[in-house]
């Protein structure tokens, strides 16, 4: 049983969840709690199940057994439509690559979630422009995804994930395809913006230097959450 160390309420929690793909078990009885406002790093070797843990926590698919609680309600018992809506409005996602739709421009990509929530086009694009300015990408708004560098694309992805003001941000190896300096820029941006907006972050990575940006880390080994290092209050 892991304790959440930050002292704030627990926002997201997995209780003893298990998930198998065919014959292969990916998670067997994993439990973790994420406190409101913290940045949690989920580390583990390849094949340990950390990505699967993230997917279950984010409601991408329900676990085979166990419970996932979000904001005091059961997440894993919601149907697909409700989970989709939750992911759209309350969660944000940044993946290692492929976040952006290739044929859209940077501004389009950031505006997309706003448009999906039926905002008016002008308002959506204005907000998108503001985000891009904030990221120092103001002049890249009309560039297509393919014309952006890896770092620029990931920054746009972060902006897109935060555009609707989600409560939770899920990042899976966000700097995996980037070099050290670019990766540092992206991590600084991600954590900085999250802290600023009070967004809770679940960060899956195998890279310790990326995990060092978090407040707390847990280890996933063989489908179970093993270590939980307490928070260092900064």
């Amino acid at each position: 049983m892991n304790t959440s160390a930050a002292g704030h309420g627990v926002l997201l929690e997995a209780r003893d969840i298990a998930k198998s793909f065919g014959q292969t078990p990916a998670l067997r009885g994993a439990s973790v709690a994420v406190a409101q406002g913290e940045i949690l790093a989920v580390m583990g070797p390849s094949g340990s199940g950390k990505s699967t843990l993230l997917h279950c926590l984010a409601g991408i698919f329900p676990p085979d057994s166990g419970e996932v609680w979000y904001d005091g309600r059961r997440l894993d018992t919601l149907n697909e439509a409700e989970r989709t809506r939750l992911r759209r409005t309350a969660f944000g996602f940044v993946f290692q690559f492929g976040n952006l739709v290739p044929e859209l421009t940077a501004a389009d990509n950031v505006a997309l979630p706003l448009l999906l929530q039926r905002q008016h086009r002008k308002a959506a694009y204005r907000q998108a422009a503001q985000w891009l300015d904030r990221l120092d990408l103001g002049d890249k708004g009309t560039r297509r995804t393919g014309e952006l560098s890896g770092g620029e694309a990931q920054r746009v992805a972060v902006a897109r994930a935060l555009a609707l003001g989600p409560c939770l941000l899920f990042a899976d190896e966000p700097t995996g395809s980037l070099d050290s300096l670019t990766g540092e820029k992206v991590m600084k941006l991600l954590t900085g913006l999250a802290r600023e907006q009070g967004v809770t972050v679940v960060l899956v990575t195998h890279d310790a230097r990326v995990a060092a940006y978090a407040d707390r880390e847990v280890m996933v080994r063989d489908g179970v959450v093993t270590a939980d290092v307490g928070t260092v209050r900064s």
Binding site: I60, F93, V101, P102, T105, R118, H120, G146
Partner: protein, 759 residues
């Protein structure tokens, strides 16, 4: 390599199986249709090539009191009509032993005997004698065999006569040998062209489908193929493996298609696609046809798939991400503009005399121009849509379309061509019909015309038939005929008389040769009105009334300018009679009565069959029948093209999903509902389709209207598009939409968030 390819095919899983199925079904449909076209053409050829005994001609029999020859036979061929069907009638009398026997019978019928074709025999048994049987003197002695007939529905009769009696009938010739060669090829070039078009209309969409499916297969397997390349396979090897898929399905499809055709063949044999039914045994593509398809279709599909893969380069690192292609240049519109311009030039040169020489190339260039301009149209519409439409789905769809319009348009190319062709035909044919069916001929649809005057120098004894003079029937015979016709019931008779100068064929041209009562004219308003107060007028050489083209013949020939005729009409010979009938039975009874009491006239010389009496409606129907036939064939070709193009579209859309798998999956992970993505896929297919279809239909319709305006006489209404057109187009677009919707479940399965695994 092929073995490896086969293994990949068989182990491909559900998706590969679906692809196999789609190609097999489409190829099967295409092959079955091709076989049907070949079979129908073969039957048509067989029918045209049968010995044309009707073409037999002979010199005139010596007239007057000279003795008849002692060998050969007297031969009088004429055509009769029954309920819109032609009866081939041969009146024959042997002049000596060893007279040649026409095909289909063992010996000539003697006087008072006749041989009839099976179809005619059936009719004679069922139809009242007054409507049909009374026309033919004698009793049924036997059946005419297939050798003389084009098809099982043909009506033919050989009637035996006494030689002396037959010699007196106008038009009888002396025949010593019966022609055995094929008949004149009036329509064969047209039909050959139509058949060739049919083959192409089926073949090209099938090949497009196969190449699209192969490209899709290569894209789906790119990882496997990249691995093979790493292991040392050359690009050629990869092409072979990818093609095995398509060739295997093509072979399977051909086999299935042959099976389907064999099952459908009896129905095909009973159908009348080209207007007549052929003998069932001739409706077959022959062994050569089967063989050709068995070899050609897999070969063609192999070629198509290899060609399709030429552009797909699979490097050992997988298909490299391609940069955004440049947007299509406006120069793409040039061929389309050129084609329209050519067509306009040809249309301006067109008049009722003939079609301008630039119209056909103009049409072809326009067709090609549509295909070339398509990507630009798609791009332009995408840009416009992006500005006008709001929402996430339109944003995704329009950006994608503007990104690579060429690829998006490729999917709907076939449908656009089908729409263009279908619209041209759909607008033209009703126009042709309305050109023929002038308002005046419509008014006379149930008016029968029979003429009794000879139109040229006659070398036959004028008194050969009682009451017949070069100017027509004698007044007594004429009056008897008119009252006999009136007594049939259901008829209204309008007599036309000859003036004495009509008997002089060498008289000055432009002289009045006929007379008609004004009360008759009042009932035949179409032909004009007398000046008020007259009882009868003289008419010009009313040749046009006797032509069988209602366009020429239903023109007024009486006006206020015609001078009065002050004599008594009852003393004039009867030149012609118009009979309005109230129903089909009355029409046949009228024809039978005329056949007995006023046999056919000589129109141009001995041995040429006179036209049997027909209503104006029947004359129109014959001509428009051909146009309708053309439309039916075209509609069929268009339908087929649409079906195959629809499959092509489904395959292309499915292939496009491959490119979108990752971004769409991540969009769904991020909470985008599946419905939004489905709308994107729909929009991406519907927008280019709509743009091109509207453009194609609009241009085609405009061209048809222009053609009709130039070709048709003034006053013809602007051609509209009839129900058949909307039904065909509607069905086609429905099929296209259905094809797109079929791929939507695939979208859901491919992008399910649970499939996101990044390790």
């Amino acid at each position: 390599m092929t073995r490896l390819g086969l293994r990949l095919v068989l182990a491909g899983g559900r998706e590969a199986l679906t692809r196999l199925l789609v190609i097999t079904v489409s190829v099967a449909a295409g092959v079955a249709l091709l076989l049907a076209v070949l079979a129908e053409f073969h039957a048509f050829q067989a029918g045209s090539n049968r010995p044309c005994w009707e073409c037999t001609q002979g010199p005139a029999l010596p007239g007057g009191a000279s003795p008849l020859p002692s060998r050969g036979e007297a031969w009088n061929y004429s055509a009769d009509f029954y309920q819109g069907r032609t009866i081939e009638r041969l009146d024959v009398a042997a002049l000596g032993p060893g007279a040649p026997v026409p095909p289909g019978i063992a010996r000539l019928p003697g006087p008072g005997q006749y041989y009839a074709s099976p179809a005619l025999t059936r009719l004679l048994r069922t139809v009242p004698a007054g409507q049909l049987g009374d026309r033919f003197p004698g009793t049924l002695a036997g059946t005419i065999g297939d050798a003389a007939l084009t098809g099982p529905d043909e009506l033919a009769i050989y009637i035996g006569y006494d030689p002396a009696a037959l010699a007196k009938v106008p038009g009888t010739g002396w025949v010593t040998a019966i022609s055995a060669g094929p008949g004149p090829e009036v329509f064969t070039p047209f039909f050959r062209y139509a058949f060739a078009t049919g083959v192409l209309a089926v073949l090209f969409p099938v090949l497009i489908l196969i190449s699209t499916a192969t490209r899709l297969a290569a894209a789906r397997r790119e990882e496997r193929f990249a691995a093979l390349r790493l292991a040392g396979a050359t690009p050629g090897d990869i092409s072979v493996i990818a093609s095995v898929d398509s060739v295997a399905s093509a072979l399977l499809g051909t086999a299935v298609g042959i099976g389907v055709f064999l099952a459908v063949r009896p129905a095909l044999a009973a159908a009348t696609l080209t207007g007549t039914r052929y003998f069932a045994a001739t409706v077959t593509p022959t062994a050569w046809g089967y063989l050709a398809l068995l070899v050609a279709v897999p070969l063609a599909s192999a070629a198509a798939s290899l060609l399709a893969l030429r552009r797909v380069r699979i490097s050992p690192l997988g298909v490299t991400r391609r940069a955004t292609p440049p947007s299509p240049s406006p120069w793409r519109l040039a061929p389309l503009a050129a084609g329209i311009a050519l067509f306009l030039a040809g249309a301006l040169a067109t008049s009722t005399r003939g079609i301008g020489v630039a119209t056909y190339p103009g049409l072809l260039v326009t067709l090609i121009g549509l295909v070339i301009a398509g990507p630009w149209l798609t791009w332009a519409l995408a840009r416009l849509g992006g500005k006008v439409l709001s929402g996430a789905s339109p944003l995704l769809a329009t950006r994608r379309l503007a990104d690579d319009p060429k690829a998006e348009f490729r999917a709907v190319r076939g449908l656009v061509l089908a729409v263009f062709l279908g619209t041209i035909v759909g607008a033209l044919v009703p126009a042709i019909d309305s050109v023929l069916a002038t308002p005046s001929s419509t008014a006379l649809a149930d008016v029968l015309l029979d003429t009794f005057a000879s139109n040229g120098p006659s070398t036959l004894p004028a008194a050969g038939v009682s009451g017949l003079t070069p100017a027509g029937l004698t007044p007594q015979a004429g009056a008897a005929l008119v009252s006999g016709l009136r007594n049939l019931g259901g008829t209204t008779v309008y007599p036309l008389y000859s003036l004495p100068q009509a008997a002089n064929p060498n008289g000055p041209p432009g002289s009045y040769i006929g007379a008609v009562s004004c009360s008759v004219m009042r009932q035949l308003i179409v032909f004009g009105q007398c000046a008020p107060g007259l009882a009868a007028v003289q008419v010009f050489d009313a040749d046009q009334i006797y032509s069988d083209n209602p366009h020429n013949s239903t023109q007024p020939f009486v006006s206020h300018a015609n001078p009065a005729y002050t004599g008594s009409l009852a003393t004039l010979p009867l030149q012609a009679v118009l009979v309005r009938v109230n129903n089909a039975a009355t029409l046949e009874r009228t024809r039978t009565y005329l056949a007995i009491h006023a046999p056919p006239q000589v129109s141009a010389g001995p041995g040429v069959a006179a036209t049997p009496p027909r209503t104006y409606g029947e004359a129109v129907a014959i001509r428009s029948g051909r146009a309708e036939l053309a439309q039916k064939l075209f509609d069929l070709a268009v339908m087929l093209t649409i079906v195959v193009a629809g499959c092509s579209l489904a395959v292309a859309v499915g292939g496009g999903l491959v490119d979108r798998k990752r971004p769409f999956t991540l969009l769904r992970v991020g909470g985008t509902p599946l419905g939004t993505l489905s709308r994107v896929v729909l929009l991406e297919a519907v927008l280019p389709l709509a743009a091109a279809v509207v453009a194609a239909a609009g241009i085609a319709y405009g061209m048809s209207v222009l053609a009709v305006i130039r070709l048709a006489p003034p006053g013809t209404p602007v051609p509209g598009l009839n129900g058949t057109y909307w039904a065909t187009m509607g069905a086609g677009l429905a099929i296209a939409l259905a094809a797109i919707c079929v791929t939507l479940p695939l979208l859901g399965r491919m992008t399910t968030p649970a499939s996101v695994r990044f390790e």
